[in-house]
Symmetry: C2
Subunit: 232 residues, 2 copies
Protein backbone atom coordinates (compact mmCIF):
# COMPACT_ATOMS: atom_id res chain seq x y z
CA UNK A 1 0.00 0.00 0.00
CA UNK A 2 1.32 3.40 -0.95
CA UNK A 3 0.16 6.71 0.47
CA UNK A 4 1.22 9.79 -1.45
CA UNK A 5 -1.12 12.53 -0.28
CA UNK A 6 -2.45 13.78 3.05
CA UNK A 7 -5.48 16.03 3.18
CA UNK A 8 -5.88 18.12 6.32
CA UNK A 9 -8.87 20.03 7.56
CA UNK A 10 -8.07 23.52 8.91
CA UNK A 11 -10.53 24.88 11.53
CA UNK A 12 -10.30 22.93 14.81
CA UNK A 13 -7.78 20.53 13.27
CA UNK A 14 -4.82 22.88 12.78
CA UNK A 15 -5.99 25.88 14.80
CA UNK A 16 -8.73 26.93 17.23
CA UNK A 17 -11.96 28.02 15.58
CA UNK A 18 -15.11 26.69 17.24
CA UNK A 19 -14.04 28.24 20.56
CA UNK A 20 -13.93 31.64 18.80
CA UNK A 21 -17.48 31.05 17.50
CA UNK A 22 -18.62 29.97 20.98
CA UNK A 23 -17.14 33.06 22.62
CA UNK A 24 -18.88 35.27 20.07
CA UNK A 25 -22.12 33.40 20.60
CA UNK A 26 -21.84 33.92 24.39
CA UNK A 27 -21.39 37.64 23.74
CA UNK A 28 -24.45 37.52 21.48
CA UNK A 29 -26.58 35.84 24.18
CA UNK A 30 -25.66 38.63 26.60
CA UNK A 31 -27.01 41.23 24.16
CA UNK A 32 -30.56 39.88 24.18
CA UNK A 33 -31.18 40.23 27.90
CA UNK A 34 -34.95 39.80 27.65
CA UNK A 35 -34.64 36.25 26.36
CA UNK A 36 -33.64 32.91 27.75
CA UNK A 37 -30.24 31.65 26.51
CA UNK A 38 -31.52 28.24 25.44
CA UNK A 39 -34.31 29.88 23.45
CA UNK A 40 -31.88 32.21 21.64
CA UNK A 41 -29.47 29.35 20.89
CA UNK A 42 -32.26 27.22 19.44
CA UNK A 43 -33.50 30.07 17.25
CA UNK A 44 -29.99 30.96 16.06
CA UNK A 45 -29.28 27.32 15.18
CA UNK A 46 -32.54 27.15 13.22
CA UNK A 47 -31.81 30.37 11.33
CA UNK A 48 -28.24 29.26 10.58
CA UNK A 49 -29.53 25.98 9.18
CA UNK A 50 -32.13 27.79 7.06
CA UNK A 51 -29.51 30.18 5.67
CA UNK A 52 -26.78 27.60 5.04
CA UNK A 53 -28.07 26.93 1.52
CA UNK A 54 -27.58 30.61 0.63
CA UNK A 55 -24.73 31.73 2.88
CA UNK A 56 -22.58 28.61 3.00
CA UNK A 57 -20.05 28.31 5.82
CA UNK A 58 -18.05 31.02 7.54
CA UNK A 59 -18.02 34.12 9.68
CA UNK A 60 -19.96 36.45 7.38
CA UNK A 61 -22.96 34.13 7.17
CA UNK A 62 -22.80 33.58 10.93
CA UNK A 63 -22.84 37.35 11.52
CA UNK A 64 -25.84 37.80 9.22
CA UNK A 65 -27.68 34.98 11.00
CA UNK A 66 -27.00 36.55 14.41
CA UNK A 67 -28.47 39.84 13.16
CA UNK A 68 -31.51 38.05 11.76
CA UNK A 69 -32.00 36.19 15.05
CA UNK A 70 -31.83 39.44 17.04
CA UNK A 71 -34.39 41.07 14.76
CA UNK A 72 -36.74 38.09 14.87
CA UNK A 73 -36.60 37.57 18.62
CA UNK A 74 -37.06 41.24 19.47
CA UNK A 75 -39.96 41.89 17.09
CA UNK A 76 -37.74 44.03 14.87
CA UNK A 77 -36.67 46.26 17.76
CA UNK A 78 -33.51 44.87 19.41
CA UNK A 79 -31.86 46.61 22.40
CA UNK A 80 -29.91 49.79 21.54
CA UNK A 81 -26.45 48.98 20.23
CA UNK A 82 -27.12 45.26 19.72
CA UNK A 83 -26.78 45.27 15.92
CA UNK A 84 -23.60 47.33 16.06
CA UNK A 85 -22.21 44.95 18.69
CA UNK A 86 -22.93 41.97 16.44
CA UNK A 87 -21.26 43.68 13.47
CA UNK A 88 -18.24 44.46 15.62
CA UNK A 89 -18.10 40.88 16.93
CA UNK A 90 -18.14 39.56 13.35
CA UNK A 91 -15.31 41.86 12.31
CA UNK A 92 -13.30 40.81 15.36
CA UNK A 93 -13.70 37.16 14.43
CA UNK A 94 -12.33 37.96 10.97
CA UNK A 95 -9.31 39.66 12.52
CA UNK A 96 -8.81 37.14 15.33
CA UNK A 97 -5.23 35.92 15.88
CA UNK A 98 -4.65 32.36 14.71
CA UNK A 99 -3.54 29.96 17.42
CA UNK A 100 -2.31 26.59 16.15
CA UNK A 101 -3.22 23.52 18.18
CA UNK A 102 -0.56 21.63 20.18
CA UNK A 103 1.70 19.43 18.08
CA UNK A 104 0.54 20.77 14.72
CA UNK A 105 3.80 22.39 13.63
CA UNK A 106 5.90 19.29 14.34
CA UNK A 107 3.39 16.85 12.85
CA UNK A 108 3.01 18.84 9.62
CA UNK A 109 6.76 19.35 9.26
CA UNK A 110 7.26 15.58 9.53
CA UNK A 111 4.37 14.71 7.19
CA UNK A 112 5.51 17.19 4.56
CA UNK A 113 8.86 15.40 4.21
CA UNK A 114 7.22 12.25 2.95
CA UNK A 115 3.76 13.18 1.64
CA UNK A 116 2.06 15.84 -0.44
CA UNK A 117 -0.03 17.94 1.95
CA UNK A 118 -3.33 19.45 0.81
CA UNK A 119 -5.41 21.78 2.96
CA UNK A 120 -9.14 21.06 2.46
CA UNK A 121 -11.45 23.50 4.20
CA UNK A 122 -14.86 25.15 4.11
CA UNK A 123 -15.56 28.75 5.15
CA UNK A 124 -15.08 32.24 3.78
CA UNK A 125 -12.42 32.31 1.07
CA UNK A 126 -10.52 35.39 2.23
CA UNK A 127 -10.80 34.46 5.91
CA UNK A 128 -9.35 30.97 5.37
CA UNK A 129 -6.49 32.39 3.28
CA UNK A 130 -5.79 34.91 6.03
CA UNK A 131 -5.71 32.23 8.71
CA UNK A 132 -3.41 29.99 6.72
CA UNK A 133 -1.01 32.89 6.14
CA UNK A 134 -1.16 33.87 9.82
CA UNK A 135 -0.55 30.29 10.94
CA UNK A 136 2.86 30.23 9.27
CA UNK A 137 2.01 26.76 7.88
CA UNK A 138 1.37 27.87 4.29
CA UNK A 139 4.71 26.72 2.88
CA UNK A 140 4.17 23.14 4.03
CA UNK A 141 1.16 22.70 1.75
CA UNK A 142 1.44 21.69 -1.90
CA UNK A 143 -2.13 22.86 -2.48
CA UNK A 144 -5.00 24.61 -0.76
CA UNK A 145 -8.64 23.82 -1.58
CA UNK A 146 -11.27 26.08 -0.04
CA UNK A 147 -14.54 24.36 -0.89
CA UNK A 148 -18.23 25.12 -0.40
CA UNK A 149 -19.06 21.55 0.67
CA UNK A 150 -17.12 18.46 1.75
CA UNK A 151 -18.73 15.41 0.22
CA UNK A 152 -17.54 12.29 -1.56
CA UNK A 153 -17.10 14.03 -4.92
CA UNK A 154 -15.11 16.82 -3.27
CA UNK A 155 -12.53 14.32 -2.03
CA UNK A 156 -12.47 12.41 -5.31
CA UNK A 157 -11.79 15.65 -7.15
CA UNK A 158 -9.24 17.05 -4.68
CA UNK A 159 -7.17 13.87 -4.42
CA UNK A 160 -7.27 13.27 -8.17
CA UNK A 161 -6.21 16.83 -8.83
CA UNK A 162 -3.46 17.16 -6.26
CA UNK A 163 -2.36 13.59 -5.68
CA UNK A 164 -2.60 10.09 -7.10
CA UNK A 165 -6.28 9.59 -6.34
CA UNK A 166 -8.22 8.88 -3.13
CA UNK A 167 -6.95 5.30 -2.94
CA UNK A 168 -3.49 6.60 -2.03
CA UNK A 169 -4.66 9.46 0.17
CA UNK A 170 -5.50 10.08 3.82
CA UNK A 171 -7.90 12.76 5.06
CA UNK A 172 -7.51 13.93 8.66
CA UNK A 173 -9.80 16.27 10.56
CA UNK A 174 -12.03 16.91 13.54
CA UNK A 175 -15.38 16.46 11.82
CA UNK A 176 -16.75 12.95 11.48
CA UNK A 177 -19.42 14.27 9.11
CA UNK A 178 -17.25 16.42 6.81
CA UNK A 179 -13.72 15.03 7.07
CA UNK A 180 -14.07 11.32 7.82
CA UNK A 181 -17.24 9.79 6.35
CA UNK A 182 -17.17 11.36 2.85
CA UNK A 183 -13.41 10.70 2.53
CA UNK A 184 -13.99 7.01 3.31
CA UNK A 185 -16.82 6.97 0.74
CA UNK A 186 -14.39 8.37 -1.80
CA UNK A 187 -12.03 5.45 -1.09
CA UNK A 188 -9.45 7.35 0.94
CA UNK A 189 -8.13 6.58 4.41
CA UNK A 190 -9.61 8.88 7.05
CA UNK A 191 -8.48 9.81 10.54
CA UNK A 192 -10.67 11.49 13.11
CA UNK A 193 -8.87 13.83 15.51
CA UNK A 194 -11.58 15.36 17.71
CA UNK A 195 -11.52 18.93 18.96
CA UNK A 196 -12.77 19.86 22.44
CA UNK A 197 -16.11 21.04 21.04
CA UNK A 198 -17.95 20.23 17.81
CA UNK A 199 -20.43 22.43 15.96
CA UNK A 200 -23.90 20.83 16.13
CA UNK A 201 -24.11 20.72 12.31
CA UNK A 202 -20.93 18.60 12.12
CA UNK A 203 -21.93 15.79 14.48
CA UNK A 204 -22.15 12.22 13.14
CA UNK A 205 -21.48 8.67 14.33
CA UNK A 206 -18.12 6.99 13.79
CA UNK A 207 -17.95 4.40 11.03
CA UNK A 208 -18.33 0.83 12.26
CA UNK A 209 -15.15 -1.24 11.84
CA UNK A 210 -13.96 0.37 8.59
CA UNK A 211 -10.52 -0.89 7.53
CA UNK A 212 -9.39 2.55 6.37
CA UNK A 213 -10.59 4.47 9.42
CA UNK A 214 -8.55 5.62 12.40
CA UNK A 215 -9.18 7.71 15.50
CA UNK A 216 -6.43 9.63 17.24
CA UNK A 217 -6.50 11.87 20.30
CA UNK A 218 -3.94 14.29 18.97
CA UNK A 219 -2.32 15.18 15.66
CA UNK A 220 1.10 14.17 17.08
CA UNK A 221 0.26 10.54 16.38
CA UNK A 222 -0.77 11.12 12.74
CA UNK A 223 2.66 10.71 11.07
CA UNK A 224 3.23 7.27 12.67
CA UNK A 225 -0.33 6.19 11.84
CA UNK A 226 0.20 7.01 8.17
CA UNK A 227 3.76 5.69 7.96
CA UNK A 228 2.57 2.34 9.33
CA UNK A 229 0.12 2.05 6.41
CA UNK A 230 2.40 3.17 3.61
CA UNK A 231 5.35 1.43 2.01
CA UNK A 232 5.78 4.30 -0.45
CA UNK B 1 2.40 32.23 -31.31
CA UNK B 2 0.30 29.57 -29.64
CA UNK B 3 -2.65 30.18 -27.35
CA UNK B 4 -3.82 27.19 -25.33
CA UNK B 5 -5.87 28.66 -22.50
CA UNK B 6 -8.58 31.29 -22.17
CA UNK B 7 -9.43 32.75 -18.77
CA UNK B 8 -12.86 34.31 -18.42
CA UNK B 9 -14.21 36.55 -15.72
CA UNK B 10 -17.74 35.69 -14.58
CA UNK B 11 -19.77 38.60 -13.13
CA UNK B 12 -20.66 41.16 -15.82
CA UNK B 13 -18.64 39.23 -18.39
CA UNK B 14 -20.76 36.07 -18.66
CA UNK B 15 -23.87 37.18 -16.78
CA UNK B 16 -25.49 40.28 -15.27
CA UNK B 17 -24.27 41.14 -11.78
CA UNK B 18 -23.60 44.83 -11.21
CA UNK B 19 -27.16 45.67 -12.25
CA UNK B 20 -28.40 43.36 -9.47
CA UNK B 21 -26.16 45.20 -6.98
CA UNK B 22 -27.42 48.56 -8.30
CA UNK B 23 -31.06 47.55 -7.96
CA UNK B 24 -30.44 46.41 -4.39
CA UNK B 25 -28.61 49.63 -3.64
CA UNK B 26 -31.56 51.66 -5.00
CA UNK B 27 -33.86 49.71 -2.67
CA UNK B 28 -31.44 50.44 0.18
CA UNK B 29 -31.48 54.19 -0.55
CA UNK B 30 -35.27 54.16 -0.34
CA UNK B 31 -35.12 52.70 3.17
CA UNK B 32 -33.23 55.65 4.66
CA UNK B 33 -35.79 58.30 3.82
CA UNK B 34 -34.29 60.94 6.15
CA UNK B 35 -31.03 61.08 4.19
CA UNK B 36 -29.91 62.36 0.85
CA UNK B 37 -29.12 59.62 -1.70
CA UNK B 38 -25.69 60.98 -2.59
CA UNK B 39 -24.76 61.11 1.08
CA UNK B 40 -25.84 57.52 1.68
CA UNK B 41 -24.00 56.30 -1.43
CA UNK B 42 -20.80 58.03 -0.35
CA UNK B 43 -21.00 56.57 3.15
CA UNK B 44 -21.78 53.07 1.85
CA UNK B 45 -18.84 53.22 -0.57
CA UNK B 46 -16.54 54.31 2.26
CA UNK B 47 -17.74 51.52 4.57
CA UNK B 48 -17.44 48.93 1.79
CA UNK B 49 -13.86 50.03 1.13
CA UNK B 50 -13.01 49.90 4.85
CA UNK B 51 -14.47 46.39 5.17
CA UNK B 52 -12.99 44.95 1.98
CA UNK B 53 -9.83 43.85 3.80
CA UNK B 54 -11.94 41.71 6.17
CA UNK B 55 -14.98 40.77 4.09
CA UNK B 56 -13.47 40.40 0.64
CA UNK B 57 -15.82 40.52 -2.36
CA UNK B 58 -19.37 39.32 -2.64
CA UNK B 59 -22.98 39.61 -1.55
CA UNK B 60 -22.56 38.73 2.13
CA UNK B 61 -19.99 41.46 2.73
CA UNK B 62 -22.15 43.92 0.76
CA UNK B 63 -25.16 43.07 2.95
CA UNK B 64 -23.13 43.55 6.15
CA UNK B 65 -21.85 46.90 4.86
CA UNK B 66 -25.39 48.08 4.06
CA UNK B 67 -26.47 47.20 7.62
CA UNK B 68 -23.46 49.03 9.05
CA UNK B 69 -24.21 52.08 6.89
CA UNK B 70 -27.85 52.15 8.04
CA UNK B 71 -26.77 51.93 11.69
CA UNK B 72 -24.13 54.65 11.32
CA UNK B 73 -26.30 57.10 9.40
CA UNK B 74 -29.29 56.75 11.69
CA UNK B 75 -27.40 57.03 14.97
CA UNK B 76 -28.00 53.38 15.75
CA UNK B 77 -31.76 53.71 15.28
CA UNK B 78 -32.75 53.02 11.66
CA UNK B 79 -36.39 53.17 10.49
CA UNK B 80 -38.56 50.20 11.54
CA UNK B 81 -38.07 47.24 9.26
CA UNK B 82 -34.95 48.63 7.56
CA UNK B 83 -32.54 45.97 8.84
CA UNK B 84 -34.92 43.14 7.98
CA UNK B 85 -35.39 44.64 4.52
CA UNK B 86 -31.62 44.70 4.00
CA UNK B 87 -31.28 41.08 5.15
CA UNK B 88 -34.07 40.08 2.78
CA UNK B 89 -32.48 42.00 -0.10
CA UNK B 90 -29.17 40.20 0.52
CA UNK B 91 -30.85 36.80 0.51
CA UNK B 92 -32.69 37.67 -2.69
CA UNK B 93 -29.41 38.59 -4.37
CA UNK B 94 -28.05 35.17 -3.41
CA UNK B 95 -31.07 33.46 -4.95
CA UNK B 96 -31.32 35.73 -7.99
CA UNK B 97 -31.78 34.00 -11.36
CA UNK B 98 -28.67 34.03 -13.53
CA UNK B 99 -29.10 35.77 -16.86
CA UNK B 100 -26.25 35.21 -19.30
CA UNK B 101 -25.22 38.15 -21.47
CA UNK B 102 -25.95 38.19 -25.22
CA UNK B 103 -23.63 36.01 -27.28
CA UNK B 104 -22.03 34.26 -24.32
CA UNK B 105 -23.30 30.74 -25.00
CA UNK B 106 -22.19 30.76 -28.65
CA UNK B 107 -18.82 32.39 -27.94
CA UNK B 108 -17.96 29.94 -25.17
CA UNK B 109 -19.07 26.93 -27.17
CA UNK B 110 -16.77 27.99 -30.00
CA UNK B 111 -13.84 28.83 -27.72
CA UNK B 112 -14.12 25.54 -25.85
CA UNK B 113 -13.56 23.57 -29.07
CA UNK B 114 -10.07 24.97 -29.48
CA UNK B 115 -8.90 26.24 -26.07
CA UNK B 116 -8.94 25.22 -22.44
CA UNK B 117 -11.42 27.51 -20.67
CA UNK B 118 -10.81 28.61 -17.08
CA UNK B 119 -13.31 30.65 -15.07
CA UNK B 120 -11.48 33.17 -12.86
CA UNK B 121 -13.70 35.09 -10.47
CA UNK B 122 -13.88 36.86 -7.13
CA UNK B 123 -16.88 36.80 -4.79
CA UNK B 124 -18.54 34.43 -2.35
CA UNK B 125 -17.49 30.84 -2.99
CA UNK B 126 -20.92 29.23 -2.76
CA UNK B 127 -22.64 32.06 -4.63
CA UNK B 128 -20.26 31.85 -7.58
CA UNK B 129 -20.61 28.07 -7.74
CA UNK B 130 -24.40 28.47 -7.70
CA UNK B 131 -24.32 31.02 -10.51
CA UNK B 132 -22.06 28.88 -12.67
CA UNK B 133 -24.34 25.87 -12.18
CA UNK B 134 -27.43 27.98 -12.93
CA UNK B 135 -25.85 29.45 -16.06
CA UNK B 136 -25.60 26.04 -17.69
CA UNK B 137 -22.04 26.90 -18.77
CA UNK B 138 -20.24 24.73 -16.21
CA UNK B 139 -19.41 21.86 -18.57
CA UNK B 140 -17.54 24.16 -20.96
CA UNK B 141 -14.90 24.98 -18.35
CA UNK B 142 -11.87 22.79 -17.72
CA UNK B 143 -11.32 24.54 -14.40
CA UNK B 144 -12.90 27.07 -12.06
CA UNK B 145 -10.85 29.35 -9.82
CA UNK B 146 -12.73 31.43 -7.27
CA UNK B 147 -10.07 33.74 -5.86
CA UNK B 148 -9.93 36.36 -3.13
CA UNK B 149 -7.94 38.82 -5.26
CA UNK B 150 -7.02 39.17 -8.93
CA UNK B 151 -3.45 40.34 -9.20
CA UNK B 152 -0.41 39.43 -11.26
CA UNK B 153 0.50 36.42 -9.12
CA UNK B 154 -3.09 35.14 -9.32
CA UNK B 155 -2.86 34.95 -13.11
CA UNK B 156 0.64 33.47 -13.05
CA UNK B 157 -0.59 30.74 -10.72
CA UNK B 158 -3.89 30.06 -12.50
CA UNK B 159 -2.41 29.84 -16.00
CA UNK B 160 0.53 27.73 -14.80
CA UNK B 161 -1.80 25.37 -12.99
CA UNK B 162 -4.49 24.97 -15.62
CA UNK B 163 -2.69 25.78 -18.85
CA UNK B 164 0.76 26.20 -20.35
CA UNK B 165 1.62 29.44 -18.55
CA UNK B 166 0.48 33.03 -19.00
CA UNK B 167 2.53 33.47 -22.19
CA UNK B 168 0.08 31.20 -24.01
CA UNK B 169 -3.05 32.46 -22.30
CA UNK B 170 -5.70 35.15 -22.80
CA UNK B 171 -7.74 36.71 -20.01
CA UNK B 172 -11.05 38.35 -20.93
CA UNK B 173 -13.32 40.36 -18.67
CA UNK B 174 -15.17 43.58 -17.99
CA UNK B 175 -12.80 44.98 -15.37
CA UNK B 176 -9.76 46.90 -16.56
CA UNK B 177 -8.38 46.81 -13.02
CA UNK B 178 -8.94 43.14 -12.17
CA UNK B 179 -9.08 41.30 -15.49
CA UNK B 180 -6.90 43.26 -17.91
CA UNK B 181 -4.00 45.05 -16.22
CA UNK B 182 -2.80 42.26 -13.87
CA UNK B 183 -3.14 39.64 -16.64
CA UNK B 184 -0.93 41.79 -18.91
CA UNK B 185 1.57 42.13 -16.04
CA UNK B 186 1.63 38.36 -15.75
CA UNK B 187 2.56 38.15 -19.45
CA UNK B 188 -0.81 36.98 -20.78
CA UNK B 189 -2.95 38.52 -23.50
CA UNK B 190 -5.89 40.47 -22.12
CA UNK B 191 -9.16 41.57 -23.68
CA UNK B 192 -11.45 44.19 -22.18
CA UNK B 193 -15.17 43.65 -22.82
CA UNK B 194 -16.95 46.42 -20.93
CA UNK B 195 -20.30 45.99 -19.20
CA UNK B 196 -22.92 48.75 -19.17
CA UNK B 197 -21.90 49.82 -15.66
CA UNK B 198 -18.70 49.34 -13.65
CA UNK B 199 -18.34 49.15 -9.87
CA UNK B 200 -16.39 52.21 -8.67
CA UNK B 201 -13.70 49.99 -7.08
CA UNK B 202 -12.95 48.36 -10.44
CA UNK B 203 -12.29 51.49 -12.51
CA UNK B 204 -8.87 51.99 -14.12
CA UNK B 205 -7.36 53.46 -17.29
CA UNK B 206 -6.76 51.33 -20.37
CA UNK B 207 -3.14 50.30 -21.03
CA UNK B 208 -1.37 52.53 -23.51
CA UNK B 209 -0.50 50.74 -26.76
CA UNK B 210 0.19 47.31 -25.26
CA UNK B 211 0.85 44.65 -27.92
CA UNK B 212 -1.08 41.98 -26.01
CA UNK B 213 -4.14 44.13 -25.24
CA UNK B 214 -7.47 44.20 -27.03
CA UNK B 215 -10.82 45.90 -26.50
CA UNK B 216 -14.06 44.43 -27.78
CA UNK B 217 -17.63 45.68 -27.54
CA UNK B 218 -19.13 42.24 -27.17
CA UNK B 219 -17.98 38.71 -26.35
CA UNK B 220 -19.15 37.53 -29.82
CA UNK B 221 -15.93 38.91 -31.28
CA UNK B 222 -13.64 37.12 -28.80
CA UNK B 223 -13.16 33.80 -30.67
CA UNK B 224 -11.98 35.57 -33.85
CA UNK B 225 -9.72 37.88 -31.85
CA UNK B 226 -7.99 34.93 -30.23
CA UNK B 227 -7.88 32.73 -33.34
CA UNK B 228 -6.14 35.55 -35.22
CA UNK B 229 -3.33 35.51 -32.66
CA UNK B 230 -2.87 31.76 -32.32
CA UNK B 231 -1.39 29.27 -34.73
CA UNK B 232 -1.85 26.47 -32.21
Amino acid sequence: MTITTVGLDADDTLWHNETVFRLTQARFLDLLTDHDNAEIEARLAEIERRNLRLYGYGVKGFTLSMIETAMEMCGGDPPPGAIREILAAGREMLAHPVETLPGVDEALARLSERYRLVLVTKGDLLDQERKLAASGLGDLFAAVEIVSEKDQTTYERVFARHGTGPGEAVMAGNSMKSDVLPALEAGAFAVHIPYVVTWAHELADAPDGHARYGALDRIDALPDWIDARSDG
